[in-house]
Symmetry: none
Subunit: 217 residues, 2 copies
DNA sequence: AATAAAGTTTCCTTACAGGAAACTACGCTG
DNA sequence: CAGCGTAGTTTCCTGTAAGGAAACTTTATT
């Protein structure tokens, strides 16, 4: 915590754009520095002035300024009010504080993991486009390729929701007692518990993108 | 905040098991009550005594006790040290604080509902590919079209997971402090709370499919 | 240039976080 | 049962820093 009357080193660096958002996230900051950054960003995103926030939160504008510039540490009560005023849930405020960063998974074209989907035969390819090791995920994307127009499919049913997008070919897709004819660029969203699946391959080769969210509660 | 010398009402209720963990999370507690609960749970899970934690955190055992019993509100510095001592990351501590608890639809190519995404400008099109009337859904797919290579995007952050699939063009996509270069057929899956978004449009026109699962618990 | 708006800093007060130590409750042993 | 040790709670106290009011500085507008 710098001497009270001195401008914060951090602040002058921010003003000069020397420390980027990215680097701040990399390095574990003191809490008040982290809060300062997040609050200021959020406020400006919301096009709110310090005076607006101060009024809504029942704080002085001086205090809001000092918090945003990491000149003081705030009490929990004040922090709660401030976050309410700028529409930043506390859970979201701290969500990046001590998180490992940047762990997205990139899957290059054609390099998804080939999987076998139960109840299906040859004549198509199922590629899983995202498979996390460790962290539990409920979102599962597939790239499905189908070449054999004579192939017959069972219907599937599982908890959750599904979104499919047709990339290539033409297909007749079943959901419950409805049949949807799909062409490239068409998409379909549905409750995955109702029996669904390819009914007829109208024009091969077919490429279908399927994103399943398994309902885990 | 109860009178300092009175036992906290909340605490006596907890001792009698009248208020369950689940219900406490449902109702938005005051921050120090929420912290008390989480810290105490974590400490006992770790089979640590108050005296151990106090020593490790450099606090008095009285202070640890008072925090755990919501008799005081703690400063951010003290909170950080306490959490380090019990191995509870701040991001995890607050992750559940204020979280809200939520027919096939065919969309033909080019006929998704055009939406405006806040913080973004002209030069691109956002088409929502699924919009249920009535039943609440947590899976939200978009088809995003971007034509203006000079366009600049903010980063987005929201609870949940996201899957994106590049259909056309080339793009540099940011997730946290990582940048991913994507070409047609490439896909990316990630925790949507970490700031993310298009960093640079490398080759337009770009068509990007984005499926967001909003985390509703 | 003058004025208003927006944000920062200084000076000051006082509330309460945090510590030390007394107290209470519980478990174990002889 | 008494004594002792352990674990946690509460009381009493003090110093510091959060938070406010207002002066000051910076920025934007006319």
């Amino acid at each position: 915590m710098p001497p009270k009357n001195a401008p914060s080193r951090h602040i002058s660096a921010l003003k000069k754009g020397e420390i980027s958002m990215d680097r701040d996230i990399d390095t574990k900051l003191k809490l008040e520095q982290y809060i300062a950054m997040r609050v200021k960003t959020r406020r400006t995103e919301q096009a709110l002035k310090i005076t607006d926030v101060a009024r809504i939160a029942g704080l002085s504008q001086g205090m809001v300024s000092k918090i945003e510039n990491a000149q003081v540490s705030t009490s929990l009560d004040t922090l709660g009010r401030l976050c309410d005023a700028i529409g930043l849930p506390i859970s979201q405020l701290f969500s990046d504080y001590d998180r490992p960063t940047g762990s997205a998974q990139l899957t290059k074209a054609g390099q998804g993991m080939e999987v076998v989907r139960r109840g299906t035969e040859k004549g198509h390819t199922y590629q899983l486009l995202s498979y996390h090791r460790g962290k539990k995920t409920t979102l599962e994307p597939f790239l499905i390729t189908m070449d054999d127009a004579s192939e017959v499919f069972p219907t599937f049913s599982h908890p959750g929701e599904e979104f499919i997008y047709l990339l290539k070919g033409r297909i007749l897709y079943r959901h419950g007692n409805h049949l949807y004819e799909m062409e490239p660029g068409d998409s379909l969203s549905f409750d995955a518990e109702i029996p669904h699946g390819p009914e007829q391959l109208l024009e091969v080769p077919i490429q279908l993108l399927s994103v399943i969210h398994y309902d885990d509660h």
